[in-house]
């Protein structure tokens, strides 16, 4: 029986085990570092960090479709916008409670996704990319034209959010901590989803749709459920956008957001933690390092993508070397 397992396969298992052991430590370290950030950096950087968390939420939503379900989704900013405008309108109507806004925004994102899923999921591959692009640009256009509700290109300004025990959050550090807490809840929800039967089935749909059908799984219904979940995550991230900036405008859900989100997911190479790291890297390059380099943030961003695209084989090789070293 033992010769059933080939040597490369056994090494793959060893490497996976080593990774699995290192992962909790890395996660705890990242969370502690993120929570301690306001103690070491200035107010501007804290706001940037909050913006990075918002983009990371949107990147998770995109990765749920791109990395897990195998759908090249470009339109997640549409559901992000549905959530953001819902939260902003709620805030203007006097509902400043942060968690309530978050729930309403997630619901709005999910409803928008349910309504559009039947149109979008008729296609796959490049056609899917184009249809979701259309959804994104139509939503951005609607946000800019429907002045009576969205305030047009001027956008909507909102009062600071409130949290039940603490009242209104006015200091950037407090807003950041709220955003981080909400973001971690979102991460937990996504992690549970990925480990659920639905998560497994979405991964199955990505690998072998005909095989999924032949096993009796309704592929389109499953993908519709995944699309709805991704819409809810995007919507919740929209509420965090409003919490961080106290402002939303059509520019927040425009083409650049869509492109940067998809690229953050691509940086993540199919994994959820990778997408989050990608989003943080994007904000760091574009806004944090970019500002002192006289607005060359986009050039840096381009360099970042090229670096990742070319070094991926290098990192894979390094991982192998590591696995070979740690072989018993």
């Amino acid at each position: 029986m033992t010769d059933l397992i080939t040597a490369p396969a056994r090494r793959a298992v060893v490497a996976a085990t080593a990774q699995r052991r290192a992962r909790p430590i890395a996660l705890v370290g990242a969370v502690v570092a993120a929570a301690g950030l306001p103690a070491v950096v200035d107010r501007y950087t804290i706001t940037l960090a909050g913006a990075a968390l918002v983009l990371a939420g949107l990147a998770m939503s995109t990765q749920l479709l791109v990395g897990t379900a195998g759908l090249p989704a470009f339109g997640q900013p549409a559901y992000f916008g549905a959530g953001a405008y819902t939260a902003a309108l709620a805030a203007q109507a006097g509902i400043t409670n942060g968690p309530a806004q978050l729930a309403a925004a997630a619901g709005a994102g999910a409803v928008a996704a349910v309504l559009t899923a039947p149109v979008v999921l008729r296609t796959r591959g490049t056609a899917f990319l184009m249809v979701t692009f259309a959804v994104q640009s139509l939503t951005a256009t609607a946000a800019s034209r429907w002045r009576t509700v969205t305030g047009g290109d001027d956008g909507l300004h909102t009062p600071p959010i409130t949290v039940p025990a603490a009242g209104a959050l006015t200091s950037p550090a407090h807003v950041y901590w709220y955003t981080l807490a909400a973001f971690l809840c979102l991460c937990a929800a996504v992690a549970v989803l990925l480990r659920s039967p639905l998560g497994l089935r979405l991964a199955g749909c990505a690998g072998q749709p005909p095989r999924m059908s032949a096993l009796g799984h309704p592929v389109n219904t499953l993908l519709g459920a995944g699309y709805t979940a991704a819409g809810a995550v995007a919507g919740a991230s929209g509420a965090l956008l409003v919490a961080v900036h106290q402002y939303v405008s059509p520019a927040d859900i425009g083409f650049e957001t869509a492109a940067v989100t998809l690229l953050a997911a691509a940086l993540g190479a199919g994994t959820m933690t990778g997408a989050i790291a990608g989003a943080v890297a994007v904000v760091a390059c574009r806004d944090w390092i970019g500002a002192p380099t006289a607005g060359h943030g986009h050039a840096l961003l381009g360099l970042l993508f090229l670096t990742v695209a070319y070094t991926r084989p290098v990192t894979a090789h390094a991982r192998q070397l590591f696995a070979r070293r740690s072989r018993p």
């Binding site: 039967p197 199955g204 095989r211 032949a214 096993l215 309704p218 894979a316 192998q320």
Partner: protein, 509 residues
């Protein structure tokens, strides 16, 4: 008792081509039904029609008396139809255990979305039943071909289907794997109905109690194995090779080679190659004279395909590897360079361009030709070798049957004027009559001075086609012998030991 499955005048047309003429079949519950026929007879079409991946042009399909003609494949699957494909359809990025979890009868993911591990006990029992327990944590894509086949069968049966459709389950499997397959299928509950398409007639006779013969989309006969074997039409269409393999000696029908073509053979020294830096083949030496035919035998995972892929330039070989053709070194690690140096490659799974027609494939092969060393094959010569392709020139490769695709892949490789032809499981998916023809074809190629290296599971075919056989075990050559030597008892025993088989070798000599 009503039939489990009733095909009521079901037919399928593709444009002007009648893939399947109206057919009427009654299959009662518990029947083990074989479907055989030459390549392109409509066997796979029939399975696709039952599984729902193709809609019939006319007729009705009834399962337990319910009309399922308009049902989608997933709805049919929930009604108890399980299936396998010609090439294993598993989820390559998921672990073996997750593959099985997806195949288990669904606890709805909407009513219980947050259970963390779906039915682990059930998954384990399926894994144990198929001997896959040790592999549970591996990604399915890391499994060998034979293991993927086994996993696919596990997937198809895990949901306890009432009707199991098997499309060439033995393709690409070695003798011991086929025996294991037959055992596994035999152990299924007796109320499971099986419809099995296969070219391995021993498997069909052993497994099936009823056999249907198709030819050119027409129903020839249905009956017990004995009746089918006695049926004249069936014998003419399929069972009887045009010439019996046994009375053909390798040297007899090989044309006298042109003077000088015997010089300039292929030499491989110290070939070490593998995946992601992990060698699968170690320090392999091979010498094939011009016009020589060398067969590589070995169990699944022994390194046969890896050797061929490395020679074809698809895998970077490790330092120290040297390959020469006619004394000239062949640049390694680049498919285009290998092709230019005269190496033709027919991979397992064919790798055809789905939407291109047969004629376009042949044109593309001619246009890309860079070598001037080998026998200058012309398109009409190649079409004479494979007459079936003549009638399919305007057909897209994706629409060809499995056997026709294999012929096209061979034809394409020949048009590049190879001096060394690498054939990976050339008989996979071919009807017995075509297999016998193929041996003759390979001899003709060798007669024209082409060196041939083939990886093969079917020992009788390898013995018949090759003039040297090597057995690979754990990435090295464990023994090399001529077919005549293999016929001796001692060699036969060693071969059986290396391949893990003991009973099929009696028929070898």
């Amino acid at each position: 008792m009503t039939d489990l499955l009733h095909l009521d005048q079901v037919s399928r047309r593709y444009g002007g081509l009648n893939a399947l003429h109206p057919i009427d079949l009654h299959i009662p519950q518990g029947r083990r039904h074989g479907i055989i026929g030459p390549n392109g007879a409509g066997k796979s079409t029939l399975l696709h029609l039952i599984a729902g991946t193709i809609r019939p042009s006319s007729g009705r399909i009834l399962l337990h008396g319910t009309d399922i003609t308009s049902h989608t494949p997933d709805r049919r699957a929930r009604r108890g139809i399980g299936r396998t494909w010609q090439h294993p359809a598993v989820f390559p990025r998921l672990t073996v255990a997750d593959n099985i979890a997806l195949a288990l009868p669904s606890r709805s993911c909407f009513t219980a979305p947050f259970g963390t591990d779906p039915a682990p006990a059930q998954t384990e029992s399926v894994l144990a039943r198929f001997g896959l327990a040790d592999l549970a944590g591996l990604r399915a894509g890391a499994l060998s071909y034979g293991q993927q086949r086994l996993l696919e069968l596990a997937l198809a049966t895990a949901g306890r289907p009432r009707l199991l459709l098997l499309d060439e389950p033995s393709a690409g499997l070695g003798p011991d794997d086929i025996r294991q397959l037959a055992d596994t299928l035999g152990q299924l509950p007796t109320d499971v109905t099986i419809i099995c398409v296969d070219h391995d007639l021993d498997l069909i006779w052993q497994l099936c109690d009823t056999v249907t013969v198709l030819d050119h989309g027409r129903h020839l006969t249905t009956g017990t194995p004995a009746q089918v074997r006695a049926h004249n039409g069936a014998r003419a269409a399929y069972l009887q090779p045009t010439t019996t393999p046994a009375d053909r000696s390798p040297e007899a029908d090989r044309p006298e080679s042109a003077p000088g073509s015997r010089t300039g053979g292929v030499s491989v020294a110290g070939l070490t190659a593998g995946y992601h830096g992990h060698p699968v083949v170690h320090d392999l030496d091979l010498d094939i004279p011009a016009g020589g035919i060398h067969a590589l035998l070995g169990r699944n995972g022994a390194g046969k395909s890896t050797t061929l892929a490395a020679l074809a330039g698809h895998l970077p070989p490790a330092a120290g590897t040297a390959v020469t053709i006619g004394g000239k070194p062949v640049p390694l690690g680049r498919p285009a360079c290998a092709a230019a140096a005269g190496i033709g490659y027919v991979p397992q799974g064919r790798r055809l361009f789905g939407p291109l027609t047969v004629a376009e494939h042949l044109t593309a092969a001619t246009a890309a030709r860079q070598t001037t060393h080998g026998h200058p094959w012309r398109t009409d010569e190649v079409l004479d070798l494979f007459p079936t392709l003549h009638d399919r020139l305007a057909t897209p490769a994706g629409r060809l049957s499995g056997g026709e695709q294999q012929m096209l892949a061979l034809a394409r490789a020949l048009l590049a004027h190879p001096r060394l032809l690498l054939l990976d499981e050339p008989t996979e998916g071919l009807a017995p009559a075509i297999v016998a023809q193929l041996a003759g074809t390979i001899h003709r190629l060798a007669g024209a001075g082409v060196s041939v290296l083939l990886a093969e599971h079917r020992i009788p075919f390898a013995v018949q086609a090759a003039d040297q056989c090597s057995v690979l075990a754990h990435g090295t050559i464990a023994m090399t012998a001529t077919p005549a030597e293999l016929a001796t008892a001692g060699q036969r025993q060693q071969l059986g030991h290396l391949l893990g088989i003991h009973h099929t070798l009696g028929s070898l000599a």
